[in-house]
Assembly symmetry: C2
Homo-oligomer: 126 residues x 2
Amino acid sequence: MTDVEGVLAANQAFYDAHEQRDLSAMAALWADDDKVVCTHPGWPSLRGREAVLGSWQAIFQGPGRNQFILTEETVSVVGDMAWVALYENLVDTGSTTAIAATNVFERQNQRWRLVNHHGSPVMTSG
Amino acid sequence: MTDVEGVLAANQAFYDAHEQRDLSAMAALWADDDKVVCTHPGWPSLRGREAVLGSWQAIFQGPGRNQFILTEETVSVVGDMAWVALYENLVDTGSTTAIAATNVFERQNQRWRLVNHHGSPVMTSG
């Protein structure tokens, strides 16, 4: 597996954990590090592993289920750090909402782990 | 200058270029690379140097002037890649708007250059 393939697999695992509401998979994916940052669309940035995983727990306990179609994924790897830019297209009844996302990964003990997730609503058609 | 200081200086230069509407400083800051991505608050992601710098040119030609107070900057450096999480507090007459931002830098020829900027409006008080 190339570095790019490894990063894409970790990126896909992040959305799989979200769709499946799998908190332990989500916890394993995030780096075990207090520098992690997660910015959900429209939210303030959550900092530190406890705040980040707490937000996922709350989201997974909420109503509805999220399903994503990922498009325009681009990957950049430099040494032991990588970032992915993509659209998370959230599929809902009869419509799709586009979220622009940036995911930053750090390779720790041969595993790509998430250190920053930033999602934002696309509000213009530009 | 430590790596963290170098990244913070590049990060500050990005906001200085914005405040001063200095397109050549902005152009020098972004990596000369088609993988660059810029997501302005509420916008779709712009990909590639031409699209990104074109957006800055349009913003600099628009009305008003932007002034920022940067808060809660945290820096993470791994080898030749780094990311900064912060709030861009946009100062306007009588009010301040918080933008959550992630900036990713890559060190190229001893210079930290921007490869990804992602800003998003903070819409909740959470």
